[in-house]
């Protein structure tokens, strides 16, 4: 990946993820989150993990964020005025954040980050190699996960389903029936 592309994508993704936190309107936050996910997907693609990158966009941007959008619409979330908060709390929070930043800076400056060119095998990250790994080496884990997800889906349907109407006996009107 060209370093300019990396810097561009990194800056955009960090800026947009900041946007998720600092904006007040939930829909604007959602839009910033979508941008973050798309740039991270693009980073994956640029790092030869093509399948993961596109799946990230298909699943998260194409489906899960739409769900978020529906939740925001249905709950009718509005931009809320931010409470002022305690001054003391802000003071300590600032100190904690500054300490964290300093620690990260010291840690990262000591680490060797210059890895140089990493050679990956041909076809790395393609759907072929992904499928070979997933359905060969990790078949058991994969199938177990899919059963787990299926159980979760069935459970969600069972919880969300309305209770079956009780067979109305003579004299007692059905609940909710116009009397």
């Amino acid at each position: 990946m060209p370093v300019q592309l990396f810097i561009f994508l990194a800056v955009v993704s960090i800026a947009s993820s900041l946007g998720v936190v600092v904006q007040k309107n939930p829909i604007h936050c959602l839009l910033a989150l979508i941008l973050t996910l798309i740039t991270i997907g693009a980073l994956f693609v640029a790092l030869d993990a093509v399948t993961v990158g596109f799946l990230q966009i298909i699943v998260y941007v194409g489906a899960i964020m739409v769900l978020f959008l529906f939740v925001i619409w249905l709950l009718n979330l509005q931009a809320e005025p931010v409470p002022i908060g305690h001054l003391g709390l802000k003071f300590f929070a600032t100190i904690a954040v500054a300490a964290m930043a300093a620690e990260l800076f010291v840690f990262l400056s000591k680490t060797r980050t210059a890895l140089g060119e990493v050679n990956v095998a041909a076809g790395y990250g393609s759907i072929d190699s992904l499928a070979q790994t997933l359905f060969g080496q990790y078949l058991m884990a994969f199938e177990t996960t899919s059963i787990l997800l299926l159980v979760a889906v069935i459970g969600a349907v069972a919880v969300a389903r309305r209770a079956l109407p009780v067979r109305a006996s003579a004299g007692s009107p059905r609940p909710g029936a116009p009397s």
């Binding site: 829909i27 093509v50 399948t51 596109f54 966009i57 298909i58 194409g62 529906f70 759907i127």
Partner: protein
Amino acid sequence: MAIDLLIGAIKAIVILLLVLNLSAVLLWFERKGSALIQDRVGANRAAIFGIGKRMGLPNLGLMNTLMADPLKLFTKEDFVPEGADKFLHALGPFLALFPVLVTFAVVPIGDAIQIGGRTVQLQAASINAGALYILATIGVGVYGVALGGWASNNRWALLGAVRATAQMISYEIAMGLAIISIVITFGTLDLQNIVHQQGGVWFGWLPRWGIFLQPVAFVMLLTAGMAESKRVPFDLPEGESELIAGYFTEYSGGKQACFMLTDFAEVVLVAVLVTLFFFGGWQVPWLYGDGFHLGVHQLLLPRVAVVIVGVLAFWIKVVMFCWLQILVRWTLPRFRYDQLMRLGWKGLVPLGLLNVLVTAFVVVLATGAGR
């Protein structure tokens, strides 16, 4: 390096302009076509100095569809309703149009050509995972409509946006399942490779097109694609008798033109996908790298001519499928909302799952890939 960039830029611009122009011409196609279907005259106003009339030609309304109407739209007041989210209201139309247009980047419009010892793919971006890319960009396309409708601060627009979002994500699943069947059949995500595999013939005469391998997926992709483009019979998001104009009620001028253009670009996109996956893309029946061969007859052509015939054939097929969609649009009435959802979730999705299952079984049995 520089020349590669130049070639890439030229390809991107040419494909973009082809799509945009075809979308604009489709508007005229639709006006005149609907007039033909309903026994009307259709667009026949606005000529330049009456040139056509003086030459005794009928006025086909090309001027008022392709020049007068866009001019009118772009010079209109750009109205933003009170209490609207101005930023998202302005962003909406572009967010709707952009994903559709970038999808065309991976579409191969012809075979590779040799220019000065350099192989040029007639495809703006040769991505190995082209089919995944298409699914990703189509998935992003929801947001323009959803956010545009929400930002308008109008109940009808919001209802239209909710309907559009629900409809698009429902039919995306059917579309994805149809594309998965195709990918399993051809064993690749590369669109150029899929088109290459559709060259040649069976039984000495039948072209090896995807429609003969995956007829069910063809019907699914066409139906789901038309639902994605939100036109009659799937135009509930803008059902004018219920919602005025749905999600673009509060749009005018250039932004409204943007939404209209999105609709037509989606029609072109569906036609392009159907052509690529089921009708051989740029493959012409019985045309090989060196000319036509059918049985013992043959007509040899130079390589350049073969490529040009292929490109022409691709766009002819695309225009045919655009025409088919316009025909459907003016033939069928609008669905009811429950019918729409039932068709999507109880019709197309189970059918698609079954199709994927059967395809996988047949492919494994035929190639012996399982063992």
